[in-house]
Protein backbone atom coordinates (compact mmCIF):
# COMPACT_ATOMS: atom_id res chain seq x y z
CA UNK A 1 0.00 0.00 0.00
CA UNK A 2 1.44 3.37 -0.97
CA UNK A 3 1.47 6.40 1.31
CA UNK A 4 -1.22 8.04 -0.80
CA UNK A 5 -3.48 5.01 -0.59
CA UNK A 6 -3.08 4.91 3.19
CA UNK A 7 -4.93 8.25 3.61
CA UNK A 8 -8.30 8.02 5.35
CA UNK A 9 -11.48 8.39 3.26
CA UNK A 10 -12.48 12.04 2.88
CA UNK A 11 -15.95 11.61 4.22
CA UNK A 12 -14.43 10.70 7.61
CA UNK A 13 -12.51 13.98 7.83
CA UNK A 14 -13.97 16.68 10.11
CA UNK A 15 -14.83 20.06 8.63
CA UNK A 16 -12.82 22.89 10.19
CA UNK A 17 -13.17 26.34 8.68
CA UNK A 18 -10.25 28.07 10.44
CA UNK A 19 -7.81 29.49 7.85
CA UNK A 20 -4.95 27.15 8.82
CA UNK A 21 -7.15 24.08 8.79
CA UNK A 22 -8.72 25.25 5.57
CA UNK A 23 -5.36 25.39 3.87
CA UNK A 24 -4.41 21.89 4.98
CA UNK A 25 -7.90 20.64 4.15
CA UNK A 26 -7.68 22.15 0.68
CA UNK A 27 -4.20 20.79 0.01
CA UNK A 28 -5.38 17.35 1.15
CA UNK A 29 -8.54 17.48 -0.96
CA UNK A 30 -6.67 18.59 -4.07
CA UNK A 31 -4.01 15.88 -3.63
CA UNK A 32 -6.66 13.18 -3.17
CA UNK A 33 -8.54 14.18 -6.30
CA UNK A 34 -5.24 13.93 -8.18
CA UNK A 35 -4.53 10.53 -6.54
CA UNK A 36 -7.88 9.10 -7.51
CA UNK A 37 -7.33 10.21 -11.07
CA UNK A 38 -4.28 7.96 -11.24
CA UNK A 39 -4.59 4.46 -9.82
CA UNK A 40 -1.48 2.37 -9.21
CA UNK A 41 -1.83 0.62 -12.55
CA UNK A 42 -2.68 3.78 -14.42
CA UNK A 43 0.15 5.74 -12.87
CA UNK A 44 2.66 3.54 -14.69
CA UNK A 45 1.16 4.77 -17.90
CA UNK A 46 1.04 8.39 -16.89
CA UNK A 47 2.28 10.73 -19.52
CA UNK A 48 5.02 13.18 -18.72
CA UNK A 49 2.51 16.02 -18.79
CA UNK A 50 0.27 14.33 -16.23
CA UNK A 51 3.29 13.54 -14.07
CA UNK A 52 4.35 17.15 -13.98
CA UNK A 53 0.80 18.23 -13.03
CA UNK A 54 0.80 15.85 -10.08
CA UNK A 55 4.28 16.96 -9.02
CA UNK A 56 3.10 20.57 -9.23
CA UNK A 57 0.32 19.90 -6.73
CA UNK A 58 2.76 18.27 -4.34
CA UNK A 59 5.21 21.12 -4.71
CA UNK A 60 2.48 23.62 -4.03
CA UNK A 61 1.37 21.74 -0.93
CA UNK A 62 4.97 21.78 0.28
CA UNK A 63 5.28 25.47 -0.50
CA UNK A 64 2.09 26.26 1.41
CA UNK A 65 3.47 24.36 4.39
CA UNK A 66 6.86 26.04 4.18
CA UNK A 67 5.22 29.49 4.22
CA UNK A 68 4.02 28.72 7.74
CA UNK A 69 7.27 27.12 8.86
CA UNK A 70 9.46 29.96 7.58
CA UNK A 71 7.65 32.39 9.85
CA UNK A 72 9.00 30.36 12.80
CA UNK A 73 6.06 31.30 14.99
CA UNK A 74 6.74 28.75 17.75
CA UNK A 75 10.44 29.31 18.23
CA UNK A 76 10.34 33.11 17.96
CA UNK A 77 7.47 33.51 20.44
CA UNK A 78 8.95 31.01 22.88
CA UNK A 79 12.41 32.63 22.73
CA UNK A 80 10.86 36.01 23.55
CA UNK A 81 8.68 34.51 26.29
CA UNK A 82 11.61 32.62 27.80
CA UNK A 83 13.88 35.68 27.70
CA UNK A 84 11.25 37.86 29.38
CA UNK A 85 10.64 35.26 32.08
CA UNK A 86 14.38 34.83 32.62
CA UNK A 87 14.79 38.60 33.10
CA UNK A 88 11.99 38.59 35.67
CA UNK A 89 13.54 35.64 37.53
CA UNK A 90 17.03 37.16 37.51
CA UNK A 91 15.80 40.55 38.74
CA UNK A 92 13.98 38.80 41.59
CA UNK A 93 17.15 36.88 42.36
CA UNK A 94 19.82 39.59 42.16
CA UNK A 95 18.06 42.98 41.90
CA UNK A 96 17.93 45.60 44.62
CA UNK A 97 14.52 45.35 46.27
CA UNK A 98 13.83 49.09 45.83
CA UNK A 99 14.23 48.98 42.06
CA UNK A 100 12.86 45.46 41.47
CA UNK A 101 9.25 46.39 40.82
CA UNK A 102 10.13 49.25 38.50
CA UNK A 103 12.48 47.15 36.40
CA UNK A 104 10.22 44.12 36.32
CA UNK A 105 7.34 46.29 35.07
CA UNK A 106 9.58 47.38 32.19
CA UNK A 107 10.31 43.77 31.19
CA UNK A 108 6.77 43.33 29.78
CA UNK A 109 6.86 46.15 27.16
CA UNK A 110 10.53 45.39 26.51
CA UNK A 111 9.72 41.77 25.63
CA UNK A 112 6.74 42.63 23.42
CA UNK A 113 8.68 45.47 21.77
CA UNK A 114 11.57 43.14 20.97
CA UNK A 115 9.21 40.49 19.61
CA UNK A 116 7.40 43.05 17.45
CA UNK A 117 10.69 44.30 15.99
CA UNK A 118 11.90 40.74 15.32
CA UNK A 119 8.68 39.63 13.59
CA UNK A 120 8.48 42.86 11.58
CA UNK A 121 12.03 42.43 10.32
CA UNK A 122 11.47 38.79 9.43
CA UNK A 123 8.16 39.56 7.66
CA UNK A 124 9.80 42.29 5.64
CA UNK A 125 12.65 39.98 4.61
CA UNK A 126 10.42 36.98 3.79
CA UNK A 127 7.47 38.81 2.28
CA UNK A 128 5.09 36.81 4.49
CA UNK A 129 3.41 37.94 7.68
CA UNK A 130 0.55 36.98 9.93
CA UNK A 131 -2.58 39.00 9.38
CA UNK A 132 -3.75 41.04 12.37
CA UNK A 133 -1.96 38.94 14.97
CA UNK A 134 -1.45 41.91 17.29
CA UNK A 135 2.31 42.07 17.99
CA UNK A 136 2.33 45.85 17.59
CA UNK A 137 -0.91 46.37 19.49
CA UNK A 138 0.37 44.29 22.39
CA UNK A 139 3.59 46.31 22.56
CA UNK A 140 1.75 49.64 22.49
CA UNK A 141 -0.75 48.43 25.08
CA UNK A 142 1.96 47.23 27.44
CA UNK A 143 3.88 50.50 26.94
CA UNK A 144 0.78 52.54 27.73
CA UNK A 145 0.05 50.32 30.71
CA UNK A 146 3.57 50.83 32.04
CA UNK A 147 3.06 54.58 32.01
CA UNK A 148 -0.47 54.31 33.39
CA UNK A 149 0.14 51.82 36.18
CA UNK A 150 1.59 48.49 35.16
CA UNK A 151 3.98 48.99 38.08
CA UNK A 152 1.13 48.50 40.52
CA UNK A 153 -0.44 45.73 38.45
CA UNK A 154 2.83 43.81 38.18
CA UNK A 155 3.27 43.80 41.95
CA UNK A 156 -0.34 42.75 42.51
CA UNK A 157 -0.66 40.11 39.83
CA UNK A 158 2.97 39.35 39.01
CA UNK A 159 4.92 40.38 35.91
CA UNK A 160 5.10 36.75 34.75
CA UNK A 161 1.31 36.62 34.90
CA UNK A 162 0.99 39.74 32.73
CA UNK A 163 3.61 38.46 30.29
CA UNK A 164 1.82 35.12 30.09
CA UNK A 165 -1.53 36.78 29.30
CA UNK A 166 0.10 38.52 26.34
CA UNK A 167 1.68 35.34 25.02
CA UNK A 168 -1.52 33.39 25.52
CA UNK A 169 -3.20 35.96 23.25
CA UNK A 170 -0.42 35.68 20.66
CA UNK A 171 -0.46 31.87 20.80
CA UNK A 172 -4.21 31.85 20.26
CA UNK A 173 -4.02 34.31 17.36
CA UNK A 174 -1.17 32.37 15.73
CA UNK A 175 -2.95 29.06 16.40
CA UNK A 176 0.15 27.81 18.14
CA UNK A 177 -0.79 25.25 20.79
CA UNK A 178 2.76 25.19 22.08
CA UNK A 179 2.82 28.94 22.78
CA UNK A 180 -0.59 29.17 24.41
CA UNK A 181 -0.01 25.96 26.33
CA UNK A 182 3.27 27.20 27.79
CA UNK A 183 1.79 30.60 28.58
CA UNK A 184 -1.15 28.97 30.40
CA UNK A 185 1.37 27.18 32.63
CA UNK A 186 3.30 30.46 33.05
CA UNK A 187 0.09 32.26 34.01
CA UNK A 188 -0.58 29.81 36.85
CA UNK A 189 3.04 29.95 38.03
CA UNK A 190 2.99 33.75 37.86
CA UNK A 191 -0.11 33.91 40.03
CA UNK A 192 1.27 31.54 42.64
CA UNK A 193 4.85 32.79 42.79
CA UNK A 194 4.66 36.54 42.48
CA UNK A 195 1.11 37.79 42.76
CA UNK A 196 0.74 39.63 46.05
CA UNK A 197 -3.05 39.34 45.97
CA UNK A 198 -2.98 35.54 45.53
CA UNK A 199 -0.24 35.13 48.14
CA UNK A 200 -2.38 36.97 50.65
CA UNK A 201 -5.37 34.74 49.90
CA UNK A 202 -3.29 31.56 50.11
CA UNK A 203 -1.63 32.85 53.26
CA UNK A 204 1.99 32.90 52.16
CA UNK A 205 3.92 35.41 54.26
CA UNK A 206 6.21 37.61 52.17
CA UNK A 207 9.72 36.81 53.37
CA UNK A 208 13.14 36.98 51.73
CA UNK A 209 13.11 33.18 51.51
CA UNK A 210 9.71 33.01 49.80
CA UNK A 211 10.87 35.65 47.32
CA UNK A 212 13.97 33.59 46.58
CA UNK A 213 11.84 30.51 45.98
CA UNK A 214 9.67 32.53 43.59
CA UNK A 215 12.80 33.71 41.79
CA UNK A 216 14.09 30.15 41.40
CA UNK A 217 10.75 28.85 40.14
CA UNK A 218 10.43 31.70 37.61
CA UNK A 219 14.01 31.18 36.40
CA UNK A 220 13.53 27.41 36.10
CA UNK A 221 10.35 27.98 34.10
CA UNK A 222 12.21 30.42 31.84
CA UNK A 223 14.91 27.82 31.18
CA UNK A 224 12.25 25.25 30.25
CA UNK A 225 10.60 27.74 27.84
CA UNK A 226 13.94 28.59 26.21
CA UNK A 227 14.78 24.87 25.89
CA UNK A 228 11.38 24.33 24.22
CA UNK A 229 12.15 27.24 21.88
CA UNK A 230 15.44 25.61 20.86
CA UNK A 231 13.63 22.29 20.30
CA UNK A 232 10.98 24.10 18.21
CA UNK A 233 13.64 25.77 16.11
CA UNK A 234 15.37 22.46 15.42
CA UNK A 235 12.01 20.90 14.56
CA UNK A 236 11.19 23.77 12.17
CA UNK A 237 14.63 23.41 10.54
CA UNK A 238 14.16 19.68 10.11
CA UNK A 239 10.69 20.04 8.61
CA UNK A 240 11.85 22.80 6.28
CA UNK A 241 14.79 20.68 5.12
CA UNK A 242 12.51 17.70 4.44
CA UNK A 243 10.19 19.94 2.42
CA UNK A 244 13.07 21.32 0.34
CA UNK A 245 14.16 17.73 -0.43
Amino acid sequence: MTELEARPPMSSMPVDLTPGALQISYVSAKCQVVDRGHSAAQSKEMTKAEDSKSAGTDQLAALAMSVQLRRRVNSTNLFAYGSGSLLIGLVWMFGESASQNGFIALVVPLTFGGLWAATAMRSSRLGVRGYRIGYGVLFLLSLAATVAGLLVASSNFGALTLLSVGFFWLGWRERSQLVWGMSAVGFMLGLVTSAAAVRQIVGIVETTRSMQVSAYITTAFAVVVIATAVWSMLDENQRLTSIVR
Partner: protein, 113 residues
Protein backbone atom coordinates in the same frame (compact mmCIF):
# COMPACT_ATOMS: atom_id res chain seq x y z
CA UNK B 1 -26.05 23.62 1.59
CA UNK B 2 -24.63 20.67 3.47
CA UNK B 3 -21.16 20.76 5.03
CA UNK B 4 -20.03 17.99 2.76
CA UNK B 5 -21.09 19.67 -0.46
CA UNK B 6 -22.17 17.92 -3.63
CA UNK B 7 -20.74 17.49 -7.08
CA UNK B 8 -23.82 19.33 -8.29
CA UNK B 9 -22.45 22.51 -6.79
CA UNK B 10 -20.74 24.31 -9.62
CA UNK B 11 -17.04 24.96 -9.27
CA UNK B 12 -16.47 28.70 -9.40
CA UNK B 13 -14.10 29.34 -12.29
CA UNK B 14 -12.74 32.44 -10.57
CA UNK B 15 -11.48 30.24 -7.74
CA UNK B 16 -10.90 26.97 -9.60
CA UNK B 17 -8.49 28.22 -12.26
CA UNK B 18 -5.10 26.56 -11.63
CA UNK B 19 -2.96 29.63 -10.95
CA UNK B 20 -5.62 31.39 -8.90
CA UNK B 21 -6.10 28.26 -6.81
CA UNK B 22 -2.38 28.16 -6.17
CA UNK B 23 -2.49 31.78 -5.00
CA UNK B 24 -5.41 31.03 -2.67
CA UNK B 25 -3.66 27.96 -1.29
CA UNK B 26 -0.69 30.07 -0.26
CA UNK B 27 -2.94 32.70 1.31
CA UNK B 28 -5.11 30.13 3.09
CA UNK B 29 -3.05 29.98 6.29
CA UNK B 30 -4.22 33.37 7.57
CA UNK B 31 -1.13 35.14 6.24
CA UNK B 32 -0.50 38.25 4.22
CA UNK B 33 2.12 37.84 1.48
CA UNK B 34 3.79 40.38 -0.76
CA UNK B 35 3.59 40.48 -4.52
CA UNK B 36 7.20 39.48 -5.15
CA UNK B 37 6.91 36.48 -2.81
CA UNK B 38 3.92 35.20 -4.79
CA UNK B 39 5.63 35.88 -8.11
CA UNK B 40 8.79 34.00 -7.11
CA UNK B 41 6.98 31.14 -5.38
CA UNK B 42 4.62 30.47 -8.26
CA UNK B 43 7.16 31.27 -10.97
CA UNK B 44 4.93 33.79 -12.73
CA UNK B 45 5.62 37.02 -14.57
CA UNK B 46 4.57 40.38 -13.10
CA UNK B 47 1.85 40.83 -15.72
CA UNK B 48 0.44 37.34 -15.38
CA UNK B 49 0.28 37.47 -11.59
CA UNK B 50 -1.16 41.00 -11.72
CA UNK B 51 -4.00 39.87 -13.98
CA UNK B 52 -4.89 36.94 -11.74
CA UNK B 53 -4.82 39.17 -8.66
CA UNK B 54 -7.09 41.67 -10.39
CA UNK B 55 -9.64 38.92 -11.10
CA UNK B 56 -9.56 37.72 -7.49
CA UNK B 57 -9.74 41.25 -6.08
CA UNK B 58 -12.69 42.16 -8.32
CA UNK B 59 -14.53 39.09 -7.03
CA UNK B 60 -13.83 40.19 -3.45
CA UNK B 61 -11.81 37.06 -2.72
CA UNK B 62 -8.55 38.82 -1.86
CA UNK B 63 -7.67 42.27 -0.53
CA UNK B 64 -4.57 44.16 -1.63
CA UNK B 65 -2.87 46.69 0.63
CA UNK B 66 0.01 48.94 -0.36
CA UNK B 67 2.78 49.98 2.00
CA UNK B 68 5.56 52.46 1.29
CA UNK B 69 9.15 52.20 2.39
CA UNK B 70 10.71 55.42 1.15
CA UNK B 71 10.13 55.43 -2.59
CA UNK B 72 9.52 51.70 -2.84
CA UNK B 73 5.97 50.45 -2.58
CA UNK B 74 5.00 46.91 -1.63
CA UNK B 75 1.67 45.23 -2.24
CA UNK B 76 0.49 42.89 0.50
CA UNK B 77 -2.19 40.39 -0.44
CA UNK B 78 -4.50 38.50 1.89
CA UNK B 79 -7.63 36.38 1.73
CA UNK B 80 -10.87 38.13 2.68
CA UNK B 81 -13.57 36.46 4.78
CA UNK B 82 -15.52 35.83 1.58
CA UNK B 83 -12.36 34.33 0.04
CA UNK B 84 -11.97 31.99 3.01
CA UNK B 85 -15.55 30.89 2.51
CA UNK B 86 -15.01 30.28 -1.22
CA UNK B 87 -11.83 28.28 -0.58
CA UNK B 88 -13.70 26.16 1.95
CA UNK B 89 -16.46 25.59 -0.57
CA UNK B 90 -13.90 24.55 -3.20
CA UNK B 91 -12.28 22.08 -0.78
CA UNK B 92 -15.69 20.56 0.00
CA UNK B 93 -16.55 20.12 -3.67
CA UNK B 94 -13.16 18.53 -4.43
CA UNK B 95 -13.64 16.15 -1.47
CA UNK B 96 -17.06 15.26 -2.74
CA UNK B 97 -15.67 14.56 -6.22
CA UNK B 98 -12.97 12.33 -4.76
CA UNK B 99 -15.57 10.46 -2.69
CA UNK B 100 -17.69 9.85 -5.77
CA UNK B 101 -14.68 8.57 -7.70
CA UNK B 102 -14.07 6.13 -4.84
CA UNK B 103 -17.68 4.98 -4.90
CA UNK B 104 -17.62 4.39 -8.66
CA UNK B 105 -14.38 2.45 -8.37
CA UNK B 106 -15.77 0.37 -5.52
CA UNK B 107 -18.84 -0.45 -7.62
CA UNK B 108 -16.58 -1.53 -10.47
CA UNK B 109 -14.53 -3.67 -8.08
CA UNK B 110 -11.41 -1.64 -8.79
CA UNK B 111 -8.58 -3.09 -6.68
CA UNK B 112 -6.39 -0.03 -6.86
CA UNK B 113 -8.45 2.32 -4.68
Amino acid sequence: MSDKGTVGESLDEVVHQRTRLSILMLLGGGVEVDFSFLRTSLDLTDGNLGRHLDVLAEAGIIAVRKTYNGRRSRSWIRLTDYGTLKLGQEARILRSIADQIDQVRALNGDETS
